[in-house]
Symmetry: C2
Subunit: 236 residues, 2 copies
DNA sequence: CGGGATCCGCGGGGATACTG
DNA sequence: CAGTATCCCCGCGGATCCCG
């Protein structure tokens, strides 16, 4: 039975919290920022949420117009995806993430979600616009992602790339550390905490697209700041 | 006993929600955006929160560095106020309020918090920079506020103004309607839902500082958009 | 009287087992 | 694989009480 309590305040903030203020709701939205996801994928990405609660949240978010069930014609995959309105939460979630990592209290030894790192990667990377388009394959937390560097942007998509110049497998925390400091790529490869197949220099370029200083006149902050903000205290 | 559950994710979003994701936490922050507040003032502004829960939230927010207890030298008023870090939540809350009023589901007949209207007023008003500084007195929900129009901005402060050109008393919803459409000021005065003392034209200028189109080259949206966004569905 | 603390019932959150 | 059913417990909510 979905939750049905309200702050009973017409204020926009209170109304927003009526919709996405319940526990786990905004983290479900975070998971859907990158791509539509299936129920089991959400469960795997959010290992501490119970299945009944996840089902409740998905029902509520769908009822409130934040997400929708992907149309399943015939053998459709039956995924959950953000509505247009739900997608407009993205800048708010990014700002909230920026705010959260400035918390004075360092968190206890916690995991780092793969989605968090990928969202940051997509959001903060500024690859050389002059470089030719390149595909990378990323294996994170048992899931494969396609990372496309093209036209000065990075796009992250779920699934195997058609072609890839290089492939990287690592823990989210390891990748996060490499994004903060590309020099750790070599040591991570050496001690086995990261595995690279293909052109190592392409991976290095990807990492530097985040960690290297941006061209001036860019909108907000330095990549280092932004990364530590998304990825957590282990980079500060 | 304050809440002590965590999402156990180093992601900045999850860490932010660990700090301000519990129920009522962000509405407490909203109340403190305008000015430091006492316990009883918060209870009055948030009539649906129980006292023990409010005390818990204040403790947690203080422990996490979002608010602090105002220093009480001698007979100090013992207020709660945002820390510098807590204050950086302001743009996030404003964006969340913008998002919330676009909810497709119109809320049931609910109240409108006075703080919500005042925050919007302060945030969205663009008075004529050439006009001389003016003070207004606002009585909203039994509380008196000083509204200062000066140098192209509006500042809202708690308490009686030293001097005021005009005074307005009304319900939050009435003021919200007047901000959306200044023409309702006259009818509200006529039917007694608003009371003006002093120079009526000054109140009208205040209302039009929000509802009139902004000078182009201003940052975001039109006042009408922004107001409906903060103030709720009754203006849409 | 303001500023909480204590008590208690309820409902949402969390874990596990089970089913279409 | 995608949820549902069941249980327990704690956070929430309302009321009352307490203390300076």
């Amino acid at each position: 039975m979905p939750t049905s309590r309200s702050y009973r305040d017409s204020c926009g903030i209170a109304r927003a919290l009526d919709v996405v203020g319940e526990r786990w709701a905004l983290l479900v939205v975070r998971e859907l920022l990158l791509a539509p996801q299936r129920f089991s994928e959400l469960r795997h990405a959010l290992p501490h949420v119970s299945s009944n609660l996840l089902a409740d949240r998905l029902r509520e978010l769908e009822h409130n117009g934040v997400i929708r069930r992907g149309l399943a014609p015939g053998e459709g995959p039956r995924v959950y995806e953000l509505t247009e309105w739900g997608r407009t939460l993205e800048p708010i979630l990014l700002a909230l993430g920026d705010w959260g990592v400035d918390a004075p209290q360092p968190p206890p030894p916690t995991a780092l979600s793969a989605t968090s790192v990928l969202i940051f990667l997509q959001h903060a990377a500024r690859p050389d616009p002059a470089a030719p388009p390149t595909n990378c394959r990323l294996e994170l937390d048992g899931r494969v992602w396609t990372v496309r560097l093209a036209s000065g942007r990075v796009q992250v998509q779920p699934g195997e790339p058609a072609t890839a110049a290089a492939s990287l497998r690592a823990e989210p925390k390891t990748l996060s550390a490499m994004l903060a400091d590309p020099a750790t790529l070599a040591t991570a490869c050496a001690d086995g905490s990261a595995t690279v197949v293909g052109d190592l220099s392409v991976i290095d370029r990807l990492l530097r697209a985040v960690s290297d200083p941006w061209p001036i006149s860019d909108q907000t902050g330095t990549p280092q700041e932004r990364h530590s903000e998304m990825a957590g205290p282990h980079t500060r």
